[in-house]
């Protein structure tokens, strides 16, 4: 109806006339008897309104703060408070065309720690091997904790226009929550004790938490840290001395592959429109390397535990084999990092240099 047009209202409630008059007055309509003539206010409210983009996953280069929390594609009334917290409000800064698909995959791939792992098979390992598993799990838990906190801190800063990215990061933090749970459960399964937490490892993780730039944080955490962890988790799955250890590493590995895929996809797209980001990524790696230069990185207990697991025995030969396997793991990690750095447009030479600067703590 256009302003000025009338409608006659019929009804049986004995208060219809009273309530109709009252309601219409408040809306700026005129009433005579039971005939309401539309006023201009209801239309005026929407005069300066605009659509917050389109409903589908086609996003704008920049999301205005004035859209607030409105759903993408909703008609937004002008006025009201600007969104005060979402400073990650440009496509280049957060988006990846992979996000909607990765989110759907992530939501479909959620597993229940209680049932996805066969906790009833109690590992009966030699004490030294069990201790090695416990030490590796202790190390993994603190790394997972960092991997949970980093995306969680950016989640609330993402403009709702790029909701699939926020949704994906929300599931990613849920993934990390489950990783923390299953690694903790495996650690405590036999001995009820945890291993050691080295100062060098914690220094490395603290430097991840200190990063406030979303792109640099995803670069350091997802591309380099979680990318390196893909090799570590697949190594652990392969050399796991018991079924539960193999299962928890396997499940975490699947999730991590998604985390790496998003970080890589997002940065690839951002670098296409913003090549000046590349030297900043390089500088961030150099800065982190310098900051961690005086720390020990991966502690000996974790390194030894990895050797013990890969050795599968106590003969000098077996220990030699284990040591070689861990050396190979580090070579694989380095190759993986160089491959991902190359995908981000670094030259092979640069990729090799940068990969060598990566934290000795792996994450």
């Amino acid at each position: 109806m256009a302003p000025g047009e009338s409608v006659e209202v019929r009804g049986t409630d004995r208060h219809l006339g009273l309530h109709l008059t009252t309601w219409a007055r408040r809306q700026g309509h005129r009433v005579v008897g039971l005939t309401v003539t539309k006023g201009g206010a209801s239309g005026a409210r929407w005069q300066a309104s605009e659509r917050a983009g389109v409903p589908g996953p086609t996003v704008w280069e920049k999301a205005p703060r004035r859209w607030g929390l409105a759903a993408r594609g909703a008609l937004v009334e002008a006025g009201g408070p600007d969104l005060s917290v979402a400073d990650l409000d440009s496509k280049a800064a957060v988006w990846s065309d992979l996000a909607p698909r990765l989110y759907a995959q992530a939501a479909a791939a959620q597993w229940d720690p209680a049932t996805a792992i066969d906790w009833s098979i109690s590992p009966a390992l030699p004490d030294e091997v069990e201790a090695a598993v416990v030490q590796v799990m202790t190390y993994l838990i603190e790394n997972e904790q960092a991997a949970l906190m980093v995306p969680a801190r950016f989640l609330g800063r993402i403009h709702p226009h790029y909701r699939e990215v926020a949704q994906l990061l929300a599931v990613q933090t849920a993934d990390e929550a489950r990783h923390i749970e299953v690694f903790t459960r495996r650690a405590l399964l036999v001995s009820g004790q945890l291993g050691v937490s080295g100062a060098g490892g914690r220094a490395s993780l603290q430097s991840l938490l200190d990063e406030t730039d979303f792109s640099i944080a995803s670069f350091l955490l997802s591309v380099l840290g979680e990318g390196t962890f893909l090799h570590l988790l697949s190594f652990l799955e392969r050399y796991a001395p018991d079924v539960v250890t193999a299962q928890v590493c396997h499940l975490a590995l699947q999730d991590e592959a998604r985390h790496v895929a998003f970080g890589l996809g997002h940065l690839e797209e951002q670098l296409r429109v913003e090549p000046a980001l590349r030297p900043r990524l390089r500088m961030a790696m150099e800065r982190r390397h310098d900051a961690l230069a005086s720390t020990s990185g991966l502690n000996d207990e974790v390194f030894d535990a990895l050797v013990v697991l890969a050795a599968r025995g106590w003969t000098p030969d077996a220990i030699g084999v284990g040591h070689d396997a861990v050396q190979r793991l580090q070579v694989d990690m380095d190759e993986g990092r160089r491959r991902r750095l190359t995908r981000l447009g670094f030259s092979p030479q640069e990729a090799a240099e940068l990969s060598a600067l990566h934290t000795r703590n792996f994450m």
Partner: protein, 296 residues
Amino acid sequence: MTANADSTRTAGSDVLLMGAVAYDPKVVTIWDGFRRWLIGHDLAVDYVLYSNYERQVEDLVAGRIHAAWNSPLAWVRARRLAAAHGATVSALVMRDTDQDLSSVVVVRADSPAHSAGDLTGCVVATGAIDSPQATLLPIDALRSAGLRVGEDLTIRRFDIGVGLHGDHIGGERAAARALMAGLVDGACMIDANHLAFTTEGILNPGATRIICQTEPFDHCNMTVIDSAPAALAARFGELLLAMDYSDPEVRPLLDLEGLTAWRPGRVSGYRALEQAVDNAGFYDAEGRICAAGYRP
């Protein structure tokens, strides 16, 4: 600023000073917002808040403020008080939602009463002593129907927010609750609150019946005293009338104040209240407070 302890000091002429009664915390939001908008449109304006309408009216007539956002009862008193002091007040603007309101006296649907006359011997709940819409006007309507208030029927007043001239909804809500609880036979309220209480579930749909409805009356207005700086007052009125509901800056304030447009003020809608005030002996012809037990 020059210090001036003289309590009879009047408002200067460089800034339009208006008063508003702080019946709710939102009043600060509303007038702060309007003030900012008006200053943005080059009107020097400021406001002061009062705890009750009586002092606001007295200050208006004394020239301590130039304009007052007045309840209908405050208008009646301002008009009388001003006239008694050889001054005049005028209604500059009012809200679109201030025009042609009505109040009702309702009974429970199963009440034996079917007309106002049937309320003889009954107890009727009203709002606060100074509520035009929930006390003075509906009681006067019952009086016009031939009932002698206090003799033929008993009034049970719910004195909540006395001094706010019924702006506080509490008295009417308590009256409606008393009706549904069977504590009284009838209850007085403004039309909008009958709808509001129905929506809130205090009055179930179909649970009440209107036994008496007042003639249409007008509610608040922006009252201006004739000693106010004329150009500022005229500009004030023009700017308020120019506020557009499509302007996202003022729309939230208009929503909060409950209007979609300002209208030029009119005083034709206060006749019934003038009459009710006389019949109840609330104010005298010179605007003195006469109502027994009224302590704003």
